[in-house]
């Protein structure tokens, strides 16, 4: 589903190389120490950071495509919603960047907000709802975008552990509903165990191919063991 071949990114003194494949429908946790290159990797796949090599999404080469033309939805660490737009408008942008929605599309937006438990909050603005509700609205947009690949750059990092777990579960539901493959950065191994079936370990610019989460967690390689402190 996602095929990364000879990907090379160099930023100042930092270099990252990656070649791996992710099968359709997999939920992959990307873990590794801070500064290892996790965000850089996702940024390159998403089309926000220039890179060499080849990136295929759904069998199509998207290496030179614009971020919105890659079949990818992405949630960032922050700034996932426009604060001056209502939640419904923010979700609507996932359907049409011009925001000129048809009645059918409007109904689709309401349905998505309902699905994430925000039915009564359509007309609210992000500043008027809680952090958890903001995350839900961003996920509602992912839902209507219906892209085959979802990248998460720790969008729930600012939430407490319980709420973060809730959002990860909701993400899994959204991914199942849209049939999306997921790549999510996380610092916490329990998040990987909760929401992922595979793990990509990133360390010092090296990207290990995905391995089943139960395998790698029960028998971590030395570098991962050092990171986990086990």
């Amino acid at each position: 589903m996602l095929k990364v071949e000879g990907l090379k990114i160099s930023l100042g003194g930092f270099a990252l190389q990656a070649s791996f494949e992710v099968d359709a429908g997999q939920r992959v946790a990307v873990i590794g120490p801070s500064g290892a290159g996790k965000s850089t990797l996702l940024g390159a796949i998403g089309g926000y950071i220039p890179s060499e090599g080849r990136i295929d999404v759904g069998g199509k080469d998207v290496s030179n495509a614009a971020p919105d033309q890659r079949g990818i939805a992405m949630l960032f660490q922050d700034g996932n919603l426009f604060p001056h737009l209502t939640l419904a408008q923010n979700v609507g942008l996932g359907l049409r960047p011009s925001l000129r929605l048809t009645d059918g599309e409007r109904a689709r937006v309401s349905e998505a907000l309902d699905q994430v438990g925000l039915a009564a909050f359509e007309a609210r603005k992000p500043g008027d709802v809680s952090g958890g509700q903001q995350s839900r609205a961003a996920l509602a947009r992912v839902l209507v975008q219906g892209k085959p690949l979802l990248l998460l750059d720790e969008p729930f990092a600012a939430l407490g552990p319980a709420l973060r777990g809730e959002m990860l579960d909701l993400t899994s539901t959204v991914a199942r509903d849209t049939g999306a493959t997921v790549l999510m950065i996380t610092h916490a191994p329990e998040d990987a165990e909760r929401a992922a079936d595979h793990v990509i370990f990133v360390d010092e610019g090296r990207v290990e191919p995905p391995q089943p989460v139960s395998e790698i967690m029960s028998n971590p390689p030395p570098a991962l063991r050092a990171y986990l402190g086990r």
């Binding site: 100042g12 950071i49 939805a73 960032f76 001056h84 942008l93 011009s98 500043g127």
Partner: protein, 520 residues
Amino acid sequence: MARHTQPIKTSTLTGPIAAGSVFFLILAALAAVASKAQWPVTFGVADWAALRFTVWQSFLSALVSVVFAIPVARALARRRFVGRGLLVTLLGAPFILPVIVAVMGLLVVFGRSGWVSQGLGLFGLPPLSIYGLNGVVLAHVFFNLPLATRLILQGWQAIPAEQFRLAGQLGLPPVVVFRTLEWPVLRQVVPGAFALIFVICLTSFAVALTLGGGPRATTIELAIYQAFRFEFDLGRAAMLSLLQLVVAGSAAVAALWMLPPIAAQMGRDRPVQRWDARGAGLRALDTMWIGLAATFLLVPLGAIAASGLAGLGQMPSQVWSAAWTSAWVAALSTVVLVALALPISMWLAQTRWGGAEALTLVGLAASPLMIGTGWFILINPFAAPTQFALIVTALVNAMMSLPFAVRILMPAMRQVIAEYGRLSASLGLSGLALWRIVVLPRVRAPLGFAAGLAAALSVGDLGVVALFADGDRATLPLQMYRLMGSYRTDAAAGAALLLLTLALGMFWACDAWGRRHAEG
């Protein structure tokens, strides 16, 4: 790890096209002027005198403004009192105050038969004279002392409150606080403030027109006007325009590296709690400086209101039609400004080309009268230039506001790109939808402020229109100048009050539009 911002996908051409058309308007004017100049260019005694006076009065104006701004800003920075916020807001008022209105206010207070002279007369002293160098510098200080004060105050308020808390905890005396905290900021801000005021005063026209004149107090800008208007000597006007361009241009380029950023609003003006300077003597000193500055700024404004109310009934009907003309010229000018400033500031916010910022300053250096003269020469063979007087005025006014507008908008644009560039790209927002949905709502407040400045500047401008206009076409400042010239002082005072109301009203309307629904 480096954080990357996604360039925002507005059209990549609109910015360069907008900037290019501004350059074309200026270069076409310059070429027209150069074609009329007699080569080789020679300067007469009067021209050298104009050059000397221009530089000397700019230097004095900048020096006096900055020297007095320091104690006033220091007093405002370390005192908290009722009305402080209002006073700081009022420091921004001269920026939108029409020059000719301020001159009127200064004449009422400091003129030959003004309040101060009358007071001096009671003691048998001779009246003041504010024509010539004194008056020109006085008016420039009236406008730029508040600007310098705001710039210095902004610098000091950028010092983190924790540092003053630490100073208070250590019980540092005022001298040490000054040396360790205030002086380093001052050393950064003061040269920039001085340079900015110097450049602004170099191209000042209306002040020199009303308070200067004669062989000893003529600026280059005024000399261009006289050569054009009284002698209709296009060659000499052209030659003086080139001189002005060289002088103001080189000063602007030299000043470029030290110009301070222009903050849109002192909105987050929270006075910092300070523990230094608690002695009664220092408190009295600060009170005196604040009192002096407030008096110097407020009394002329009060004088306009007082004498203007009396004169309102005596205004001839032309004043009202001139007010209407001014209003639409300003509205047109503001629309042009917004159409230019938005794409240019977006382009400059994204470009990595270092010279880009310099472009915004060309507008500061290009003399409005030179551009006006140039376009007069260009239009003249095809049509009567007087018919285009108001259009050219609106365009030139927009160009005068452009450097300020771009400097106000650029930080907001940079912030939009940094915060929402990636999100916009991920959603495929581009072109007009990007402007409508993301950029305009996010920059609305600074845009309203910049548009308000442009409207006020245009409505109060007495420059190009004085070159072109005939008896039928006049803006309100020109009409007011004519009333002053024919000694109809009461009617002129009424017109001044009307003009002041119009300028403040237009500024307020734009600024209020920007703040409504503007979110942080």
